[in-house]
Amino acid sequence: MPGLEDLYREIILDHYRAPRNRGELPAPPATRVEGFNPLCGDEVVLYLEVGPDGTVTDVRTAGQGCSISQASTSMMSAAIKGRSVDEARRLIRAFKALMSIHESKLEGGDATAATEEALEGVRLGDLEALQGVVKFPVRIKCATLAWNTLAQGLDEATGA
């Protein structure tokens, strides 16, 4: 039986209590994008600044939600700042792969080999602390909200 300490690792609570990169950026030039969790009402607002060389030069986050969605947003912002858009996309894939095995279980899908592949060769670092979330399937959407929103934001920022 998973316990609370699986979910609420110290590093998560730290990001929750002291979120990184909170704030706004003038948009435009920055890209502003919103994400909602329709079932619980969590909201994430991201401001992304992507340089001409395809680097995520700045990130700011706003919105409200539970510790998991807030910590995930904060950790995501720290992880992608200064990375290239391609690296950020690889991170999204890897993070969602980490979550999807169990999310798809809740929604009746099948985990696939593609999941394993997406995780290969990507260093998640601190983000791995969020892995405990998969033991609480309902909370997975809290953790992935920021990442889905980021995916949308990167598409918009790069005109994809």
Partner: protein, 410 residues
């Protein structure tokens, strides 16, 4: 007469289960009710002894199935105080009931610029159907605001109702717990010439209902919130209003005749029940209201009021300013749904920690996002009580909240 809560509890098989090795403390009856054995047995018996399609077969089994289905309708109609069982249309849930009105009565009566009045404390089920009509037909929606004591602010009610075609409001808020004065609101609507829809989804399981005394045109409710099965709900409508309405969905059962060139419709309520209905569920709903009447709705209301009073007191005593309750501060004029903010801890996190102690509460926007925006909060935690809850359950809630406070060290 006080309820024998222990005896009631014993009739709910699910309450005997444990979570994480602990006794289940179910405080989410406002989301869905648990089911007494009598309801499960009635449905099981239907499937084992009577199951056949209804209204169509001549043989004994089909006749018995039809009688059981229609008896479920009649019993439910009696429970809500309907004069005529044929004024009760079966739907999947309250949501479908309200959509039915929007799509049929609304299609016939609402055009561009016509006004529908809602309140700020409505559930999405009583908002989105009207927003769909607003987008399609250009109707206007007006909102009765709430005041600082979490009740409807009726100061400008007559102005809001002026020229309105429909006033659609909840009898009891699923977030605030607030009960509204249905006859008074219906009377105000009548004075303005507006039709009246009452969302009785919450109230119907918690206090006696008498639709005949409400002077409403429509009343919507869900079976699963009134100790009945999922998959069934009801729309009560005044007969002449139902009769004047165009049909909702098309198919078997709702027709009188079909030719290649077109169709004619059946009598009410079947006109609004296309296809094979939720037969076992109608039987289960009949058993549910029978069970509720057996316990006594007045007794249930009194028990829940006492327990709500106890809970409001216990939460305030223990946490003082640490807890903010969104809803009337006493059990007067409110149901048993208690929504709150606790410290700075997000509702999801509270619910997660409470679950360790097998305390089941809802966390989120409770399908009332416009209300949440009015309240200025993204989410609340909600504990809601039923006839089988007791002070032990409330004490378990308080204790678990104290643990959450410690866990998040706030």
């Amino acid at each position: 007469m006080a309820l024998d809560v222990a005896a009631l509890r014993a009739q709910f098989p699910l309450l005997a289960r444990t979570v994480h090795g602990r006794r289940l403390v179910y405080l989410d009856s406002a989301a869905t009710a648990q089911k007494p054995l009598a309801v499960l047995d009635a449905m099981d018996r239907y499937y084992r002894e009577t199951n056949a399609n209804v209204h169509r077969g001549v043989y004994t089994l089909a006749e018995e199935a039809t009688a059981a289905f229609e008896a479920g309708r009649a019993r439910t109609a009696r429970f809500i105080g309907a004069a005529d069982p044929h004024e009760l249309v079966f739907t999947r849930n309250a949501t479908e009931a309200i959509n039915l009105v929007a799509r049929t009565w609304g299609a016939a009566n609402l055009g561009s610029g016509d006004v529908v009045v809602l309140t700020e404390m409505e559930h999405h089920a009583n908002i989105v159907p009207w927003q769909m009509l607003a987008a399609e037909r250009g109707i206007e929606i007006r909102w009765v605001p709430i005041d600082g004591s979490y009740r409807l602010d009726l100061t400008d009610l007559d102005t809001l109702l002026d020229g309105a075609r429909l006033f659609s409001f909840t009898a009891m808020s699923n977030v605030l717990g607030t009960t509204n004065d249905v006859p008074a609101l219906a009377a105000a609507a009548r004075r303005a010439g507006a039709a009246v829809l009452v969302d009785a989804c919450q109230s119907v399981a918690h206090e006696p209902t008498d639709v005949s005394g409400w002077d409403a045109d429509f009343v919507a409710f869900s079976g699963h919130k009134m100790v009945g099965p999922t998959g069934i709900g009801g729309l009560w409508g005044r007969r002449e209003v139902l009769e004047a309405m165009p049909p909702f969905l098309g198919g078997g059962e709702m027709i009188r005749d079909v030719r290649k060139e077109g169709f004619t419709t059946n009598d009410v309520p079947w006109k609004f029940e296309a296809g094979t209905p939720a037969i076992a569920e109608a039987v289960g709903l009949g058993a549910a209201v029978e069970w509720l009447d057996g316990v006594g709705m007045a007794e249930i209301a009194a028990h829940e009021a006492r327990l709500t009073e106890y809970a409001l007191g216990a939460l305030a005593d223990r946490f003082g300013d640490g807890i903010t309750i969104y809803g009337p501060a006493t059990a007067e004029g409110r149901g048993s749904a208690i929504s709150f903010l606790f410290r700075d801890i997000h509702a999801h996190d509270i619910s997660q920690v409470l679950d360790e102690d097998a305390v089941c509460v809802r966390a989120g926007h409770h399908c009332a996002k416009p209300l949440m925006r009015v309240l200025g909060v993204p989410a609340t935690t909600r504990a809601s009580l039923a006839m089988f809850n007791d002070t032990d359950d409330v004490d378990a809630l308080v204790a678990a909240l104290a643990k959450a406070q410690a866990f998040f060290a706030l």
